[in-house]
């Protein structure tokens, strides 16, 4: 019997779902409103120096990786199923776009975080 490869997708799906549920609203408030318009935060709260320091820190790195990558894989799996449910046939090309795109984004995120250094 062929082993299902679903669990490999469930982990980032569940992790992304939990992270989005716990941190999503606060993150959007910060990156969308508080930081760019300095509401409740300093004008340089998410400025270059602060974010560089954050990205250099191991925990900060891990946080940035988890948010970007798990959000994406969570969304990718749902989009895949949503298209199917809307009656769109998800063939090889669409699968390649959805999951290949997520993979490319993952590689870019890891590459950038490594390039920033420790």
């Amino acid at each position: 019997m062929k082993r299902a490869n679903d669990p490999i997708f469930w982990l980032p799906f569940g992790a992304g779902g939990v992270l989005a549920a716990l941190f999503g609203p606060a993150l959007v408030l910060i990156t969308g409103f508080a930081a760019p318009f300095a509401i409740g935060l300093g004008p340089d709260a998410l400025g270059y120096d602060n974010m560089m320091a954050f990205a250099h820190n191991a925990i900060g790195k891990l946080f940035l990786f988890a948010i970007v990558v798990f959000f994406l894989w969570h969304a990718a799996l749902r989009i895949y199923h949503t298209l199917h449910d809307f009656g769109v046939h998800v063939g090889t090309v669409l699968k390649l776009i959805i999951f290949g795109g997520s993979l490319v984004a993952t590689v870019i995120a890891v590459w950038t975080l490594l390039a920033i250094g420790f």
């Binding site: 989005a20 716990l22 930081a35 994406l72 969304a75 749902r78």
Partner: protein, 132 residues
């Protein structure tokens, strides 16, 4: 070759027939916005890696009206995601038994939403504290 024309039921609008289906589809459709937000964050990360000038440009772009509208929609979507995530949690997690009685779904949902509210407040306060 045969002249068979098997009847295939149309799928258009099936999810409008029942509020339960509609809620399911709305929940699933939020994923498009979650993906868009993740990509915005990824762009920010890449710009950060490219240096101060690139990153400053990204932060400037966050002040544009399009960005504000996008983040308003995204905020609504994430709040809905949080609520719906814990709404379905009782169905997605293994059953929990406490002294022989099954933990009620409503309790799991309430606990989850309460945790999310606490995390949101603590996280906001933390970011305000460390960036001051």
């Amino acid at each position: 070759m045969s002249g068979r024309k098997p009847y295939t039921r149309s799928m258009s609008g099936w999810w409008k027939r029942d509020p339960f289906f509609t809620a399911y589809m709305v929940r699933e459709a939020t994923s498009f916005i979650v993906a868009a937000y993740a990509i915005v964050l990824l762009v920010g990360l890449v710009r950060l890696g490219q240096g101060k000038e690139a990153y400053d440009g990204f932060m400037q772009a966050l002040q544009s009206p399009i960005s504000v509208v996008f983040h308003l929609v995204t905020l609504a979507v994430f709040v809905y995601h949080t609520w719906s995530w814990f709404q379905i949690m009782p169905k997605t997690m293994p059953m929990i038994f406490i002294s022989g009685k099954r933990l009620e779904g409503a309790t799991i949902t309430r606990t989850g939403v309460a945790v999310a509210v606490v995390v949101t407040i603590v996280f906001l306060a933390f970011v305000m504290g460390v960036t001051r």
